[in-house]
Subunit: 189 residues, 2 copies
């Protein structure tokens, strides 16, 4: 286990505050107050407010990228790959619930290389997912609906799972995985 230093504590507290109100609504004073110190003291551990945001978002983005890479190279059917992607999202949602708000809503406030890097990871992720769907359609595993509609429908549900998972008492992770796979792949009717 990695020991929790002061810097990590800042990232964690900031994640939680960004979760509620977003990056721009939270000041360095807010973050400091939540840690019972003064804003100036934060700068002994981090370089800027931007750095906090980048830390939060890029860590999770890298998790998604790594997870998707291991799905893509697996020797499985398209449907099995989509099941793996659903499970990946649920695992990350459970482990990084608060960081996901910043990743979803505040990524556009990243700057410079961090912004470019995030956008590339996100686009690559979507492209990989799109390819899986197209392969599934080509192999007659997936119905020939517009691939973009399929991609968007599944990804929207997975990306906003963090909101709903927080709001309503947590369902057991394994039951959640089973039900989401069932609903997203086989439909509700």
């Amino acid at each position: 286990m990695k020991q929790k230093n002061r810097r990590d504590e800042i990232i964690e507290v900031a994640s939680s505050l960004f979760y509620d109100k977003g990056f721009n609504a939270i000041s360095m004073r807010d973050i400091a107050a939540a840690m019972d110190i003064k804003a100036a003291s934060l700068y002994n551990h981090i370089k800027s407010k931007q750095e906090i945001l980048a830390e939060i978002i890029l860590e999770v983005a890298k998790e998604f990228t790594a997870g998707m890479e291991s799905v893509v190279v697996a020797n499985s059917s398209a449907i099995e790959k989509i099941e793996k992607v659903i499970e990946l999202h649920i695992d990350i949602t459970v482990n990084y619930s608060e960081a996901l708000a910043a990743l979803n809503n505040d990524w556009m406030h990243l700057e410079g290389e961090d912004l470019k890097s995030f956008i590339k990871m996100r686009d690559d992720y979507e492209e990989n997912f799109r390819d899986i769907i197209k392969q599934g359609i080509a192999a007659n595993e997936i119905k020939p609906n517009h691939p973009e509609v399929i991609l968007f429908s599944i990804l929207s549900s997975l990306r906003t799972l963090y909101i709903w998972n927080q709001k309503r008492g947590k369902i057991d992770v394994n039951i959640l995985k089973k039900d989401m796979v069932s609903v997203l792949i086989n439909g509700i009717a």
Copy 2:
């Protein structure tokens, strides 16, 4: 009636700016600059920045509420009602695409009665949708998955449709409705 034009223009320009960066990242000076006037001039038409936000969000929220009410009272099966809800979201997405960003991401920056009113509309909307799903399960029209998973999966897709609809060239509305109904109700496999 009222001196609507200039005021509506402010709301429209603000919606578009909020769409890109969110309520807190956009200043009154930004809104004014986009209209080629000075920030102080805005206050001849609106009372505060808060008022702009409330106007944007509550107008769309009322559309959703009215639409859901007419679905609820209809004499249809649960699946037919869900189809109507999907069509409602698509229609609103097409007509209010930019306002939906504020509704989804900046509602927590509403204040006082506006905030209370929004939350009540949103909760009532979800409760109506939940009831439709439960009735569908009771009537054996819908598979007995966890109702909350079904509700969340469909609603997530519908609520973030505005992002995807902007990003990728618009598919014809009727094809979009048909495909989304198919994917969300019958699944992809």
